[in-house]
Amino acid sequence: MRANSAERARLLQRLPKDQWLEPDLSAPSATMYGEGVDQARLHELVDEGVAEAVVLYRCALCPTCDSHQCVVSEQCARCQSANLKAIPLFHHILCAGIFEAPKGLDAIGSCAKCGDEISAQSDRVEAVGETYLCLECHNRSPEPALHFLCLGCHDYHAFDAVTFHRLWGFKRKGPEASEPRARSAHG
């Protein structure tokens, strides 16, 4: 159902002319443009040619609190602790030995497998990524488990439990509008 003329006028009045009305990412999606401001109605104004819209962000929606404050969080795959330490792994080419060097190569001294001298300048040693050590349960993994953490409600969500949405900026149509913070190309 489309907005009536009174509601339309009220919405238009609330739209700034010289800057973009941006969504409040910490609010539930129904009220992120303000109490009583429906995003669908704002798009109707755009369709009517009296307002403009631009995509500002593409954000993950928290399935628990309906806000858009999810960030990617690294966790231990075993105990879900975030207390992870990334330790560089090195490959000693001469003996195929693999060793950790948490304090750098020069602190290693010699290869634990073959006894050969090891230094940061040696071309016989190469970095082969990192191992993630959980400081809580001491589990090691080649990669941390990735989840979304909502900074609003502090719930963790699996990647496939979260949906992504385009979030728009709106303004009344007029020549004096400023540039949006983000360009539509990012949408």
Partner: protein
């Protein structure tokens, strides 16, 4: 019939030395040993309990590691066979070693599906040895099984290997039996299957009887994690399976072969592919056995009998017969030219007859499947093993001894090869 007798007489009557040298060069003594092993191994196996079915409620304490380079399809084949195990592994680790195709994406899907427990994607290729050693960082079980990514393993394989290592608490490793999965693809794959039957199913079991297994195959070997990881895992370079086995042996650890743990692997289907593979294998064997491990000399004052037997197995039945191959030239030159065709025909007929005597019981007693195709290939065995493969091995030895041909082997990434070749 008369002509058969004539050519046989031409060969056997030429000279006792020529007959003996030919027999030796064509691996007859080694194959006869394999035949002898039939009786010994079957007697021994009767006393071993053949129940490898695990209890699915208990952890098997086995982690499987598969290293893959641009071969997601091969990993899928291996994973399917892992799912069918009577003793399922506790964890499956797949290492994508510098894959440049779509396999990292495919493997990620397999991980999300739960077929892979730990996926390691390494953007820069490090080679099989280092890949295995990186994966070893994440193994927490008592045993770790390393298989090639195109290897399909029999449903009882993990149970059989684990059972053997549980029976032998001091053993560091146990390798499995290998059959050719594409044995009917070509003449060459059929011949390789016959070769594997003798050399692996019977040959390695015979060596295992004396604790003299020289190589725990890269296709499928289970290691005791504490010993394997404690010794630094795989050795560097190509031929890492052989070098690692010899290193473990030298450190005093026992290694075994379990004939009831089957792995099915695909082998080269063309002659050129087969020759390339064997040149690499034989160059590696020469470099590791002769140059690196100096198998001609006693390793220590108290060298174990099994290590001595392992050394002599290589020296007497692989190294010397290969070097003796050029002796065939003066032997043939010493035969009057008029008698030479009959001598060659008689010699070949004699070798075919010996091959039939040796391989007939092998075909009967083989634990895998035997096809009529393999029986038809019997007359080609002396030509294949004694001439073609031996010639390839001789060339590989000479090329390695003279110009270190393995230095250009693409099995390893170029930068690793370069560092290894300039280590001294």
């Amino acid at each position: 019939m008369d002509s058969v007798v004539v050519v046989l007489a031409a060969f056997l009557g030429a000279s006792p030395f020529a007959t003996l040298a030919t027999v030796f060069i064509f691996d007859v003594p080694r194959d006869l040993m394999a035949l002898t092993s039939l009786g010994l191994s079957r007697l021994r196996r009767r006393s071993i309990k053949q129940d490898f079915v695990g209890n699915s409620n208990q952890r098997s304490q086995v982690t499987v590691v598969i290293a893959s380079l641009n071969d997601a399809e091969g990993v899928i084949v291996s994973l399917a066979s892992l799912r069918a195990q009577t003793t399922p592994p506790d964890r499956v680790i797949v290492f994508s070693d510098g894959s440049t195709d779509a396999s990292p994406a495919v493997l990620s899907v397999l991980e999300a599906r739960g077929d892979i427990d730990t996926l390691i994607i390494n953007d820069r290729r490090v080679g099989r040895a280092a890949a295995g050693n990186i994966a070893l960082q994440y193994v927490e079980t008592d045993f770790v099984l390393l298989i090639d990514c195109d290897t399909r393993i029999d449903e009882k394989a993990i149970g059989a290997l684990r059972s053997r290592l549980l029976d032998r608490p001091a053993a560091a490793a146990c390798s499995g039996n290998i059959a050719v999965s594409n044995q009917k693809a070509s003449l060459w794959t059929g011949l390789q299957q016959l070769e594997y039957m003798v050399a692996i199913d019977f040959g390695r079991e015979f060596a295992d009887t004396f604790g003299a297994v020289a190589c725990c195959s890269g296709a499928m070997t289970m290691y005791r994690t504490s010993i394997f990881a404690g010794s630094g895992g795989f050795s560097s370079g190509s031929g890492e399976d052989l070098a690692t086995t010899l290193r473990l042996r030298r450190a005093g650890h026992a290694v075994h072969f379990e004939a009831d743990a089957w792995a099915y692997t695909s082998v080269p289907e063309t002659l050129s592919g087969l020759i390339r593979q064997r040149l690499r294998w034989d160059r590696d064997a020469f470099r590791i056995q002769v140059l690196q491990f100096g198998q001609f000399t006693k390793q220590a004052p108290g060298e174990s009998l099994s290590n001595t037997l392992q050394r002599y197995d290589y020296i007497l039945f692989t190294f010397f017969p290969t070097l003796m191959m050029p002796l065939l030239i003066p032997i043939l030159a010493g035969i009057p030219s008029a008698e030479r065709p009959a001598f060659v025909a008689g010699g070949y007929l004699f070798l075919v007859m010996l091959a039939a005597v040796i391989l007939a019981p092998v075909l009967i007693a083989y634990r895998g499947q035997v096809s009529f195709f393999q029986v038809l290939l019997l007359p080609l065995i002396p030509l294949y093993q004694g001439v073609l493969m031996k010639g390839v091995r001789l060339y590989a030895y000479l090329s390695e001894a003279i110009w270190h041909a393995s230095a250009n082997d693409g099995y390893l990434p170029a930068r690793i090869r370069k560092r290894l070749n300039t280590k001294h």
